[in-house]
C-alpha cells in the first residue's frame, strides 16, 4: 500500500480513477460471499493513496454491516487495520465505527481480528489518551470472552496501549471482579497468568513484557506469580516466564524475598538467578536456551550464587551457609558423592545428616555444568556465551570457569569449540593460566581445523602464564604446530611475538637454552631460513625489548640475524637497544610519550595550515606541500596515528590540487589559449573527486563533521567541473542540466548536514547558500561566474580531527606472488586460486570487500566472496579466506595476472540510510520506488596487487 513518497502518489492520482470508487463497484457486483472475498483479496494487493483511504474505509464498513459471512467480515476487519497504517492517514475518524462493529460482532474469530485492528489504530494514535482509554475499556470488556484468540488479542492490546497511571474499572461480568473495584492494568493482566489456556497465559506474560518495554514499571508483586509459571506444563509459558522473571530481577535486584520453608531472606536477583538456573535443566530445549542466555545478563547476582553454577556437588543449601562452621560442614559433605573418576570411591560412607544435602537444589547449583553438557549444541553455545558475559564482570568467576571452558575445547561440534576459544580470549585479561591448564589448551593446537588453530593462536597472544615452564611448553607446542601445519607460519610467529613481549622475565632464563648458546663453546650457526628458528628468535627479541640484560646473552650471529629479521620481518621484530657495535637502533618513536608528541605535532601542522586564509597567498602552496610531506612521514613513523595522518594528508592534497587548479593566470587567459591548463584542471577536479570518496569510505571513525568537510570538498570539485564545462562551450543544454544537477547537490548537502552548517561558516557552501535564491533563478553563464568568484574567495576549511581514525587496509598473505612455477590449467576450464588476506578496520566486509582479478589483456573480473569466507579473529580485524575461480582462453606463454582487493562503496548507503530504512511496506513492492538519488557507486583498491603466474594451456584433443 501506501507510504511511498509523495511523488509517485501524485502521479497515481492523476492517472487513475479513485480507488474507492472501483472498490465500491466491485463489492456491489459481488453476488455471494466468495466473490466478495475474492475482490477484497485482489484489492489488498494494490496500494491505496492517502487521500482515498477514508473513502475506502467507509465503503468497507458499509459492506461490513451488510455482510453475513464471517470470513468476509474477517477480511474487512484485517483490511481496516492495514488501511489505518497508511502513512499520513489519521485513523481517529474510524475509531467509533470500529468500536461499534466490535460491540455488535458475534463471531469470535472476527472479534479477535477487530481487536487486532483496534490495536493498530491505537498504535497509530499515540497522542490521543481518550482513544486509548476507550480502546483499553473495550479490551477489558472482551477479556471474559470464551474464545482464547479474543482473550489473547485483548491482552496484547492492553500490553501495547495500557498505561500505568490509569486505574480501570473492570466490568462485572468477569469472575472475581464483581466488586467493581478500581484496578490497574497490571493486575488485570496478571489475572490471566492463571488462565486455563496456555496460549492465553503466554499472551498475558507477553503483554506484561510489552508494558515493560514501554517503560512502565512492573510491580514487584508479579514476581511470585511469574515464578509459579516457571513450572507450567507448557514450554512457551515457561519460556515467557523466564523472561518475565528476568525483567523483574533487573527492576528490583535488591528487594528481599523470603525463602520458602525457612525464615531467611535473600535478594530478589539471587532468587531469580537460582530459579532461572533451574530452568537450564528444563525438559524443553527452547526453554533451556532461553534460560542459559538469560543467565548471562544477570550481572548483579551475588558471588557465592554465581559460583554455585559451576558446582554440581555442593547441593543447594549454600544460601543458608554463612557461618564458618557451616562451611566446614559443607566440606565434609562434599565428599559424600563419588565423582566417577576413581575406582570404588562410591562405597557408601557413614550416613550424614541428610538434611544438609539436597539433591535438587533450589539454588543455582551446577546450572552451567548442565548447560555445557547439554545434548543440543544451541544450549551449549548459549551457556558458553553466558559464561563469558558473567566472567567478564567478575574476575574470580572467570578464574573458576576456566576449567569448564577449557573442557569445551573438546566439544564434538566445531562451532562450540571455536566459540569457547573466543570466549576464553575475551576473559583472558582476568586470568593467568596454570601449567596444566595451558597444557590442555595447547593440546588443541594439533586440531586439523585452521579456524580452531588460529583462534587458539589469537588466544595465546592474550594469555598470561605464570612460570617459565609454561613458556617453554607453549613454545614447544607452537613449534610442533609449525612443523605439522607449515601454513600457520605467520600466525605462529605473531603469537610468539606477543608471548615474548608479555613475559620478558620468564623468557630470560630460557634464552641460553633457546638459542643453544654455550658459555665456552661456539655452537653452529642455525639456519636462518628455518621457520622454527625464526619463531624462537621472534620470541627472544620481543622479550628482549623490555629486558635490557638479555642481549648480553646473545651470540654474534644472533645480532646478525637480528639485523636481518629487523629488516625482513619488521612487524614481528621490535627495535632493540643493542650494546656494542655502536649500533643504536632505538628510535625516538619508542620513547614514552611519543604518541602524545606526535599527536601534538599533527595538531600543530593542521593549525599552521589553517592560517592560510587566502588560497593565493604567497607560500601557501609550499606550506601545504611541506605539511603533506611531514604528515606522510609521521604516518610512517607512528603507526597509532597512521590513519589520522594519512587522512589529513589526503585532505590537504585535495586542497592543494584545488588551489593549483584555481590559479589566477589560468582564469584570466582566453579559453583557447589555455587548453593545456584546462586539461590539468579537469584532471585535478577528477582526482579530487576520487580522493574525496577515498576519504569518506576508506577511513573508519569519522564523525558527521568530517563527512561534511569531505562533502564540502567534493562540492567544490563539482563546482570546478561545472566551470570547466562552461568554458569548453559545448552547447547550452548540457550546461543547463549540469547546473541543475549542481543545484540539487547543494540542496542535498544542505539537507544532509543541517546540523553541521554552523561549523561551516564563511565556507564555500555557506556563501552559496546565501546566494541560493539568486543562483536558482539566474542563467547558467551567470551562475558559473558566481561560482568561480565564490570558489576563489572561499578559504580553506579547517579540518578537525576525531578521536580515532583508522584507514582500512588489506594485506594479501596468499598468494605470495613469489612463485616461479606457473599455475597451469586447461583453457576454458576453471582453476581455483586460494586467497588469504587480512583486513583491518573494514566495516561490514561481507558487503564491501571484493576481489579483483586483472588479466594481462586488460580484462578484469570482480568477484564477490561469500559471507562465510570472512572470519573475525579480533576486533577491527577480519580475515578473508576464499577461492577465486580463474578462466581464460589459451595463452602461448605463462603470464602474470594481478589480484587485488577492492572496497566497494555506494554514496547512497551512507547518506540516505535513514530514509531507505523506512521504505519497506507491507505489500513489499519495492519495484515502484524510484531510486532515491543518483547513487554513486564505485570501488577503491585498498591492497597491494599480487601477481600470480598462470598458464592456460590449450585443450589437448
Amino acid at each position: 500500500f501506501p507510504r511511498s513518497e509523495e511523488a509517485p502518489a501524485k502521479k497515481l492520482r492523476l492517472s487513475k480513477p479513485s480507488k474507492s470508487a472501483a472498490l465500491h463497484i466491485d463489492l456491489c457486483k459481488a453476488t455471494n460471499s466468495t466473490d466478495a472475498l475474492q475482490y477484497l483479496l485482489h484489492f489488498a494487493r494494490k496500494p491505496v493513496e492517502v487521500e482515498s483511504v477514508e473513502g475506502v474505509v467507509r465503503i468497507l464498513l458499509e459492506h461490513y454491516y451488510k455482510e453475513t459471512d464471517n470470513s468476509v467480515r474477517l477480511k474487512i476487519a484485517s483490511l481496516l487495520g492495514l488501511l489505518s497504517k497508511t502513512q499520513g492517514f489519521s485513523p481517529d475518524c474510524i475509531v467509533d465505527d470500529a468500536i461499534n462493529t466490535l460491540n455488535n460482532e458475534k463471531s469470535h474469530q472476527v472479534l479477535a481480528q477487530l481487536l487486532d485492528t483496534l490495536l493498530v489504530i491505537g498504535t497509530q494514535l499515540p497522542e490521543s489518551p481518550t482513544v486509548r482509554q476507550r480502546l483499553i475499556e473495550m479490551a477489558c470488556k472482551h477479556l471474559s470472552d470464551t474464545y482464547f484468540g479474543v482473550r489473547n488479542k485483548c491482552l496484547k492490546l492492553l500490553g501495547c496501549l495500557g498505561m500505568a497511571d490509569t486505574p480501570l474499572t473492570k466490568d462485572n461480568d468477569g469472575p472475581g471482579a464483581s466488586l467493581g473495584l478500581l484496578r490497574d492494568i497490571q493486575s488485570i493482566i496478571s489475572d490471566f497468568f492463571g488462565d486455563q489456556d496456555p496460549r492465553v497465559r503466554t499472551a498475558a506474560i507477553k503483554a506484561m513484557l510489552q508494558l515493560h518495554e514501554r517503560r512502565i514499571k512492573i510491580h514487584e508483586i508479579i514476581y511470585d506469580q511469574a515464578c509459579r509459571l516457571l513450572s507450567d506444563d507448557y514450554e512457551q509459558v515457561r519460556s515467557a516466564a523466564v523472561q518475565m522473571v528476568w525483567v523483574l530481577s533487573q527492576l528490583y535486584p535488591e528487594s528481599i524475598v523470603p525463602i520458602p520453608s525457612s525464615n531467611e531472606e535473600i535478594r530478589l536477583v539471587d532468587d531469580a538467578f537460582g530459579k532461572i538456573s533451574h530452568m537450564v535443566s528444563d525438559g524443553s530445549w527452547m526453554v533451556r536456551v532461553q534460560a542459559a542466555k538469560t543467565l548471562g545478563s544477570m550481572l548483579q547476582v551475588s558471588h557465592h550464587f554465581l559460583e554455585q553454577t559451576l558446582d554440581k556437588k555442593l547441593m543447594s543449601d549454600l544460601r543458608r551457609k554463612r557461618t564458618a562452621h557451616e562451611r566446614a560442614k559443607e566440606l565434609f559433605t562434599s565428599g559424600e558423592f563419588s565423582s566417577g573418576r576413581k575406582w570404588a570411591d562410591d562405597a557408601p560412607k557413614e550416613k550424614l545428616d541428610t538434611n544438609t544435602v539436597n539433591l535438587i537444589a533450589s539454588g543455582a547449583c551446577g546450572a552451567f555444568v548442565h548447560g555445557l553438557e547439554d545434548e543440543m549444541f544451541e544450549v551449549r553455545i548459549a551457556a558458553v556465551e553466558a559464561l563469558s558475559q558473567l566472567a567478564r564482570s567478575s574476575a574470580s568467576f572467570a578464574e573458576k570457569c576456566l576449567d569448564f571452558l577449557v573442557d569445551m575445547f573438546n566439544d564434538e561440534i566445531e562451532e562450540v569449540r571455536l566459540q569457547s576459544i573466543h570466549v576464553l580470549r575475551e576473559i583472558s585479561t582476568h586470568i593467568t593460566l596454570r601449567e596444566d591448564q595451558l597444557d590442555t589448551v595447547l593440546a588443541v593446537l594439533e586440531d586439523s581445523s585452521r579456524d580452531i588453530r588460529e583462534a587458539l593462536h589469537e588466544l595465546i597472544c592474550y594469555t598470561n602464564v605464570s612460570t617459565k615452564e609454561c613458556i617453554q611448553l607453549a613454545l614447544l607446542e607452537l613449534l610442533k604446530n609449525l612443523n605439522k601445519y607449515p601454513t600457520d607460519r605467520n600466525s605462529v610467529w605473531k603469537c610468539l611475538k606477543f608471548l615474548g613481549s608479555r613475559h620478558p622475565t620468564l623468557v630470560l632464563p630460557l634464552v641460553p637454552e633457546l638459542l643453544s648458546t654455550h658459555p665456552y663453546f661456539d655452537t653452529p650457526e642455525p639456519d636462518m631460513d628455518d621457520p622454527a628458528y625464526i619463531a624462537v628468535l621472534v620470541l627472544v627479541f620481543n622479550a628482549a625489548k623490555s629486558c635490557p640484560t638479555m642481549p648480553a646473552l646473545f651470540s654474534d650471529h644472533t645480532f646478525r640475524h637480528y639485523a636481518y629479521l629487523r629488516d625482513s620481518l619488521s612487524h614481528l621484530v621490535p627495535p632493540l637497544r643493542l650494546p656494542g657495535n655502536g649500533l643504536d637502533l632505538v628510535d625516538s618513536r619508542c620513547g614514552s610519550g611519543s604518541v602524545e608528541s606526535a599527536q601534538l605535532f599533527l595538531q600543530q601542522s593542521l593549525n599552521r595550515v589553517s592560517t592560510i586564509q587566502n588560497l593565493e597567498a604567497p607560500g601557501a602552496q609550499d606550506l601545504l606541500n611541506f605539511t603533506i610531506r611531514d604528515l606522510q612521514r609521521l604516518g610512517e613513523l607512528q603507526t597509532e596515528l597512521a590513519g589520522a595522518a594519512d587522512f589529513c594528508a589526503t585532505y590537504l592534497r585535495c586542497q592543494l590540487l584545488l588551489m593549483k587548479a584555481l590559479q589566477e593566470k589560468l582564469w584570466n587567459m582566453a579559453v583557447p589559449l589555455c587548453l593545456k591548463q584546462n586539461v590539468t584542471a579537469t584532471a585535478a577536479a577528477q582526482q579530487i573527486l576520487e580522493e574525496t570518496y577515498k576519504l569518506e569510505f576508506l577511513y573508519s571513525g569519522l564523525e558527521s563533521r568530517q563527512v561534511a568537510t569531505i562533502h564540502h570538498v567534493r562540492l567544490q570539485a563539482k563546482a570546478l567541473q561545472l566551470i570547466l564545462t562552461a568554458r569548453t562551450r559545448q552547447g547550452l543544454d548540457p550546461l543547463i542540466s549540469s547546473c541543475e544537477k549542481f543545484l540539487q547537490d547543494i540542496e542535498s548537502f544542505q539537507r544532509l548536514f543541517v546540523a553541521e552548517l554552523p561549523h561551516l561558516q564563511d565556507s564555500f557552501v555557506d556563501k552559496l547558500l546565501e546566494l541560493m535564491p539568486r543562483l536558482s533563478s539566474c542563467k547558467p553563464v551567470e551562475m558559473v561566474k558566481i561560482l568561480l568568484a565564490t570558489l576563489r574567495l572561499s578559504g580553506l576549511l579547517q579540518l578537525r580531527l576525531p578521536e580515532q581514525i583508522h584507514r582500512a587496509t588489506a594485506t594479501i598473505i596468499e598468494p605470495t606472488g613469489e612463485s616461479d612455477n606457473p599455475l597451469r590449467f586447461t583453457t576454458g576450464l576453471v582453476v581455483a586460486l586460494d586467497i588469504d588476506a587480512t583486513l583491518e578496520h573494514v566495516q561490514d566486509p561481507q558487503n564491501t570487500v571484493k576481489v579483483q582479478v586483472l588479466y594481462p589483456d586488460g580484462q578484469s573480473h570482480v568477484i564477490h566472496p561469500k559471507p562465510s569466507d570472512f572470519r573475525k579473529p579480533g576486533p577491527d580485524r577480519h580475515r578473508l579466506i576464499t577461492q577465486v575461480y580463474l578462466s581464460h582462453t589459451a595463452w602461448t606463454e605463462p603470464s602474470q595476472i594481478e589480484v587485488r582487493l577492492l572496497l566497494a562503496y555506494s554514496s547512497s548507503s551512507t547518506s540516505l540510510s535513514s530514509s531507505s530504512a523506512s521504505k519497506l511496506g507491507w505489500s513489499d513492492s519495492i519495484d515502484s520506488l524510484p531510486p532515491p538519488e543518483a547513487a554513486v557507486e564505485g570501488t577503491i583498491p585498498f591492497s597491494k596487487p599480487v601477481k600470480v603466474y598462470i598458464m592456460p594451456k590449450p585443450a589437448r584433443r
Partner: protein, 601 residues
C-alpha cells in the same frame, strides 16, 4: 480404592535379572525379562513360578515389555516365552528387536557350546520368541487391548533403550529401564514429558554418585590415550561389544580426525561388526550431532578404526585396541592383556564397572602380581586407569527425571540396597512423595485415586454456562444439576428431562408441604398481605407475587393462609414447594415460624 501392585522378580534391591511385575487396573504386565550374570544355576533366571505354579503364563500376563537389549534385561526372554510358555505380545523398540537376538544367540552359544549346558533354549526358540515381538516407535501410543496402552520414551542408555509409560484409564506407571540423563558422544539424553504417573519405577545403579562433568572425563580419557600413544605405548580398552564400545569408538575416531593422528585403532571382530551395522541403520536413535551429519558422513563408518586380528597384538609401535569382554575375565581382552602387561609404556583403561573376582577388579584395586592358571604369575607393569563411562543416570539425573515426570510415588529397582536407602531418603525429603524399594518377590502396593471421566451432554453444559458466569474458573468448583447415567461401562451426565426420555420413565413431581402456625389477630387476607410485605422486605431479588386467588407465590413456592377452627388468631400457613426449590422452601418455613414482625401494617 483401586491399587497398583509392583512385584520385582529380579532387580529388586539388586543389579541384574531385571523382571518386574505390575498389576494395574486389572491388567498384569511384565517389565523386562533379564538374566543374572553372576549365577550359572536356576537363580540365573527370574522365578516365574511366582506367577503360576504350572502351566503357561499367557493367561496371567497381558503383555511383556523389554526396555533395551542388554542381557540383564532380556536374557530370560526365550526361556520364559518358549520353555515356560507365553504367547502374548512382547513389546520392544525397533533397534532392540534387531540387536536382541544377536546377543541372545551369543549368550546361548557360550552357555551351550562352551560350557556344555543342556536344557537351555535353542536357536529355534530364540527365533520363535522374536516372532512374538511387536515393535514400538518412540512416543507412539500402542493400544495393547481396549484399556491398556503403552508409550515409549527415549532413554539414552544404549541404542534403542526406552522408558515405557503404561496406562490403564487414568492410572499410569512409568518404567525407566536403564537410562542416562547426560548425553554422550552417540546418544542423546533421556526425556519424558510431565505425564504425572502414579508410580515411577526407576533404576538406581548410581544412587550415591554424582559424576564429574562428562567432558572432564572424556578429556582425561583422550589425554591418557594420546600421551600413551606419543610415548609409543599400546593402549588396551576392554569393552563389552555393544553400547559403551561405540561411544568410545566415536570419541577416539573424532579425536584422531581432529588431531591428525596416525596410530592405528583396532576393534575386535565378530559380534561388534554386526552391531555396528545396526548402529549405522538406526541413526534416528542417536544424538543431535550424528543425526545432523550423517548425510555427509555416517559417524559409525569409522575411518581410523579397523578390524583386529590376533597377530596384530605383536606389531611394533603404538596402537589402541578395543577388545571384549569388558572385565578382562576371559577371551581376547585377557589374551592381549597378558601380552602387554609387562611393559610399563602400555596402558589399560577400564571404562566401566568390574565384578568382584575378575582380573579387571583385581588390577583396579591395585594388585600388581596376578596368579594365572597353572601356578604362573603375571607381573603387571602397565598403567591401569579407570574411567567411568557407563550410561546410567547418577543421583542428580534420577532427581532430574523425577522432576520432569512429577510422579505421585517412586519405586526404586536395579541398584544396591544400601545405596537405594540413601536415595530414597533424599527423594522423600525433596519431593515429599512416597518412595518404595521392594526386594525380589516383595510386593509394593500403591493406592490410587483415579479420576473418573464422565461424558456431559453439550446442551446441559451450555445451559449451565448460561446460568452462571461465562468463564469457567478453575479455582472455583461449581454445582450443577443433572442426572448421572451409568450404562454399558460408560458414564454420562445429562439433563433430567433427557434422562427421563432415555430411560423411558415418567416424570414425577415431588412436593413438600408444610404447615406453620402463626399467631396473628388479623383476618386471613390481611395476614396474607402482611406476609407478602414481610417477604418482600426480606427476600430482595426474588419474584414475589400476590395472586388474586388468595395465595402468595415466592418463585414457585405457594403460601396459603387459613384460620384454625378453634382460634381465629392462630393462623395456619400452608407452604408447598417442589423438590427443586428445597433450599428456598425450608428457608421460608423457618422464617415464617419465627412469626411476623410487629411493625408491619
Amino acid at each position: 480404592m483401586p491399587e497398583i501392585k509392583v512385584t520385582p522378580l529380579g532387580a529388586g534391591q539388586d543389579v541384574g535379572r531385571s523382571c518386574i511385575l505390575v498389576s494395574i487396573g486389572g491388567k498384569n504386565i511384565m517389565l523386562d525379562c533379564g538374566m543374572h550374570m553372576g549365577y550359572n544355576d536356576d537363580r540365573r533366571f527370574p522365578d516365574f513360578s511366582y506367577i503360576t505354579q504350572n502351566g503357561r503364563l499367557t493367561e496371567f500376563l497381558d503383555c511383556v515389555i523389554i526396555s533395551h537389549f542388554h542381557l540383564d534385561h532380556c536374557g530370560a526372554l526365550p526361556f520364559m516365552s518358549e520353555m515356560v510358555g507365553y504367547d502374548g505380545p512382547i513389546y520392544m523398540t525397533h533397534p532392540t528387536k534387531a540387536i536382541c537376538p544377536i546377543l541372545l544367540e551369543d549368550f546361548r552359544k557360550i552357555t551351550v557350546d562352551k560350557k556344555g549346558e543342556t536344557n537351555f533354549f535353542t536357536s529355534q526358540m530364540i527365533k520363535d520368541c522374536m516372532k512374538k515381538v511387536v515393535p514400538l516407535n518412540l512416543h507412539q501410543t500402542v493400544q495393547v487391548d481396549d484399556e491398556l496402552e503403552i508409550k515409549a520414551y527415549y532413554a539414552g542408555h544404549v541404542l534403542g533403550a526406552a522408558m515405557v509409560q503404561i496406562k490403564v484409564g487414568s492410572e499410569s506407571v512409568v518404567y525407566t529401564g536403564d537410562y542416562n540423563m547426560t548425553p554422550d558422544r552417540h546418544l542423546g539424553a533421556a526425556w519424558i514429558d510431565k505425564c504425572r504417573p502414579d508410580i515411577l519405577i526407576s533404576e538406581s545403579t548410581y544412587a550415591t554418585t554424582i559424576r564429574d562433568s562428562k567432558r572432564c572425563r572424556e578429556r582425561d580419557f583422550l589425554k591418557k590415550v594420546h600421551e600413551s600413544i606419543e610415548r609409543g605405548g599400546k593402549v588396551l580398552i576392554p569393552v563389552f561389544a555393544l553400547g559403551r564400545a561405540q561411544e568410545l569408538c566415536i570419541l577416539l575416531e573424532t579425536f584422531w580426525e581432529r588431531m591428525n593422528l596416525k596410530a592405528p585403532i583396532y576393534f575386535s571382530t565378530g559380534l561388534t561388526e554386526k552391531a555396528n551395522h545396526y548402529y549405522k541403520l538406526f541413526i534416528t536413535w542417536t544424538n543431535q550431532k550424528i543425526r545432523k551429519t550423517f548425510v555427509q558422513r555416517n559417524m559409525f563408518e569409522f575411518k581410523h578404526i579397523k578390524a583386529f586380528d590376533r597377530s596384530y597384538a605383536d606389531n611394533p609401535g603404538p596402537m589402541v585396541v578395543f577388545a571384549t569382554p569388558g572385565m578382562l575375565h576371559a577371551g581376547q581382552s585377557l589374551q592381549i592383556f597378558k601380552k602387554w602387561a609387562g611393559n610399563e609404556k602400555n596402558m589399560v583403561i577400564m571404562p566401566g564397572y568390574c565384578v568382584q573376582g575378575t582380573i579387571g577388579h583385581k588390577i583396579l584395586n591395585g594388585q600388581r602380581k596376578l596368579e594365572m592358571e597353572g601356578r604362573s604369575t603375571l607381573d603387571v607393569k602397565l598403567q591401569v586407569e579407570y574411567m567411568s563411562f557407563s550410561a546410567h543416570a547418577d543421583a542428580k539425573g534420577i532427581m532430574q527425571l523425577i522432576r520432569m515426570a512429577e510422579p505421585r510415588n517412586m519405586l526404586l529397582v536395579h541398584g544396591e540396597a544400601v545405596k537405594m536407602e540413601f536415595l530414597k531418603g533424599k527423594i522423600e525429603q525433596e519431593f515429599s512423595i512416597d518412595c518404595h524399594m521392594p526386594a525380589n518377590g516383595e510386593t509394593a502396593t500403591v493406592t490410587t485415586n483415579p479420576s473418573v471421566p464422565v461424558d456431559i451432554s453439550l446442551n446441559l453444559l451450555k445451559r449451565e454456562m448460561a446460568l452462571g458466569g461465562p468463564l469457567p474458573d478453575p479455582k472455583k468448583p461449581r454445582t450443577m444439576h443433572g442426572t448421572l447415567i451409568m450404562k454399558e461401562n460408560s458414564l454420562k451426565l445429562v439433563s433430567s428431562e433427557q434422562a427421563l426420555k432415555e430411560l423411558g420413565l415418567n416424570e414425577h413431581q415431588l412436593r413438600f408441604t408444610c404447615r406453620v402456625q402463626l399467631q396473628d389477630p388479623h383476618s386471613d387476607p390481611d395476614t396474607l398481605n402482611r406476609i407478602y410485605t414481610h417477604l418482600k422486605s426480606v427476600l430482595k431479588g426474588y419474584t414475589i407475587q400476590h395472586l388474586p386467588d388468595g395465595t402468595v407465590m415466592v418463585e414457585s413456592i405457594v403460601i396459603k393462609v387459613s384460620s384454625s377452627a378453634e382460634d381465629t388468631s392462630t393462623k395456619v400457613l400452608l407452604l408447598s414447594w417442589s423438590y427443586q426449590d428445597e433450599d428456598l422452601g425450608s428457608f421460608l418455613s423457618t422464617l415464617l415460624k419465627k412469626g411476623l414482625p410487629s411493625g408491619l401494617c
